[in-house]
C-alpha cells in the first residue's frame, strides 16, 4: 500500500470521526448547564410570575392591546426537572 492511499484513507477516517464528534452538537440531550447546576435557575426569583401585581398589570396590558386573555407562558422556573 503506498503512502498516498494511506493518507487518503486516514483523511477519510478523520473526516468521518470529526462528523461523528460534531454530530453530538445536534443531540437533543446536549445541555450547556448540567442538570446538577440548575439551583439558581430553579430559584423562586427566576419565576416570571413571582409578583402578582406585576403579572396582573401585564395581563391587563396584554388584554387591552391584544384583546386576548390567558395563554401566556408556562408554569415553573428553569430547573428543567422532568
Amino acid at each position: 500500500m503506498n503512502k498516498i492511499l494511506l493518507c487518503r484513507l486516514s483523511a477519510l477516517f478523520l473526516t468521518a470521526l470529526s462528523l461523528t464528534a460534531l454530530g453530538g452538537c445536534a443531540n437533543a440531550n446536549l445541555v450547556r448547564v448540567h442538570p446538577w447546576e440548575r439551583a439558581t435557575l430553579a430559584d423562586y426569583t427566576m419565576r416570571p410570575d413571582r409578583d402578582p401585581l406585576a403579572t396582573a398589570l401585564g395581563e391587563h396590558t396584554y388584554f387591552s392591546r391584544e384583546s386576548a386573555s390567558g395563554g401566556r407562558g408556562v408554569g415553573g422556573s428553569g430547573c428543567g426537572c422532568n
Binding site: 503512502k3 493518507c7 486516514s10 483523511a11 477516517f13 478523520l14 470521526l17 470529526s18 461523528t20 464528534a21 440531550n29 448540567h34 442538570p35 446538577w36 447546576e37 440548575r38 439551583a39 430553579a42 430559584d43 430547573c79 428543567g80 426537572c81 422532568n82
Partner: protein
C-alpha cells in the same frame, strides 16, 4: 490543502480521546464508590453483595421531593429483603440540604456530594436520576426523573428482579 501525516495522526488521537471522555455511567458499568461522601464518623450501609439504589437529588428539584415519599415506602417494603437506599444530594449549600432533610426526615441514608465530584463523575443526565446496582456493584437500571406511580412501579419490578438473582454467585 493537505495536512502532514503526523498532524493527522495527532488530530485522530485527539478526537478519539474526546469520544472516550464522554464518561456517563450507563447500564453495565461499575458504579463509583460512595465512601468519600460519608461524613466523618458516619458509616455507609454495607452495600457489598446487596442491591443498592443510589438516587441523585437536590432541594430545589420538585420531583426529587416527591420521590422521597416513594423511596421511604420502598425502604420499608424492601429493607428486610436486602435493598439499601442511598440518596446523594447535589446541593451546593449545606443549609439547603439540612433544611430539606430536616423537613422530610427520610428513613434511608442521605449524603451530600460536596463539590459535586461524584455527580460529575457519574454525569447524571437529569434531576432526579436513580441507579439500581446489582449485587456485583454494577449498574443494572437507570431511571431519569420521577413520574409518580409509573416510576415507583418500574423500580419495584426491577428491584424484585435483582433481589431474586442468585446471591451465592456474588459471595
Amino acid at each position: 490543502m493537505s495536512l502532514p501525516f503526523k498532524v493527522r495522526v495527532r488530530l485522530l488521537l485527539f478526537f478519539s480521546a474526546c469520544l472516550c471522555l464522554r464518561a456517563e455511567v450507563r447500564v453495565g458499568d461499575p458504579f463509583p464508590s460512595l465512601s468519600a461522601l460519608a461524613p466523618a464518623g458516619a458509616e455507609l450501609p454495607a452495600g457489598a453483595g446487596k442491591v443498592v439504589l443510589v438516587d441523585f437529588w437536590a432541594s430545589w428539584c420538585a420531583p426529587c421531593k416527591e420521590s422521597f415519599h416513594s423511596y421511604a415506602q420502598l425502604q420499608s417494603d424492601y429493607r428486610s429483603r436486602g435493598l439499601v437506599i442511598v440518596a446523594v444530594s447535589v446541593d451546593e449549600k449545606q443549609s439547603a440540604f439540612d433544611a430539606f432533610v430536616k423537613k422530610l426526615s427520610p428513613p434511608f441514608m442521605v449524603l451530600r456530594d460536596q463539590g459535586q465530584q461524584l455527580v460529575r463523575q457519574v454525569s447524571v443526565p437529569a434531576m432526579p436520576t436513580c441507579y439500581l446496582l446489582g449485587r456485583d456493584g454494577r449498574v443494572r437500571f437507570v431511571h431519569q426523573g420521577f413520574r409518580g406511580v409509573e416510576t415507583d412501579r418500574a423500580i419495584r419490578q426491577e428491584t424484585d428482579l435483582l433481589l431474586a438473582e442468585n446471591t451465592s454467585a456474588h459471595e
